[in-house]
Symmetry: D2
Subunit: 97 residues, 4 copies
């Protein structure tokens, strides 16, 4: 499967406008999700893991009990690609937001 | 931790009356949960796994894509105990039902 | 993605010969995996879940504490296909066998 | 369950000496685990999640594909406690190290 090229800043800005809750930090799409407890947070991570493995595109993420903080970019493209926006959108849906 | 004794049939019937959606089959509390897809089913299983491990009481369960069929009894008590009702109640809540 | 056709009995027999530990029961490839405890069993299931979701081909499976019993066939092909042998092989590897 | 008190620096040093692979950084026990791929890393996280939930003591951790970076301390004790050493030891074992 051909990997997508990185998006230019204008494209990123346009797409971010349609993705409320996500912000651009240090070249990555970022968001912190907050859940009721660890169990709900880890269950969310499991669903995301299944989706990410299927896309062959994985998040950089951190978990502290009920919080999951995500950074998305595409290492081998050297920036943000459509894969990151797709995963961000999937994560938003899986979090019920 | 002392393990509970098995409940007698009258107690089981009373408790089942307060647990809609579950039925008694061959000495076990049974229910089939249906989800949207495999991902949602497996995510539910992950939450239940965390709760079960914490209780040190685990379900007998089967998964076929979006369905999770559960049988609960307490092997070492030779019947249904309060642990089964507690796990059934937890599973019901975690399934959002 | 085009889904594969079901294999004929001779092909199944040949392929089963190369897959020690698996047996043919009621039209499905079957195996029971035994682990040390629930945690190891569920962790195995998580790895299989990731692989299955990626293949878009999922096992019928049952878990009782440290045991995972698997039945593989391809519902929409009405029999056993190469996908089942691929998943069986993956599960064997992931179980460290 | 009574929560343990934080350990003093001498105790931490003594215990760290028996826990090769872990280091002390900014008041936390730290280690990066490297796996073959995302699937193996996430499966490790699932086992740790089960153990952590059972202990009611959870790691601060970050995952980047095949790497899991862990920071352990006990927020409500304001430092490192025996729970952190217990979880560190469990994680080491579950990683097969």
């Amino acid at each position: 499967m051909k990997r997508p090229a990185k998006l230019d800043p204008a494209e990123i800005e346009t797409r971010l406008g349609k993705l409320p809750g996500w912000t651009l930090k240090k070249g990555a799409l970022c968001r912190t999700f907050t859940f009721e407890d660890f169990s709900e947070a880890f269950s969310f991570m499991t669903r995301v893991a299944l989706a990410a493995e299927k896309m062959d595109h994985h998040p950089d993420w951190e978990n502290v009990w009920n919080k999951v903080t995500v950074r998305l970019n595409t290492h081998d493209a050297g920036g943000i690609t459509v894969l990151d926006f797709k995963l961000a959108s999937t994560m938003t849906t899986l979090a019920g937001l």
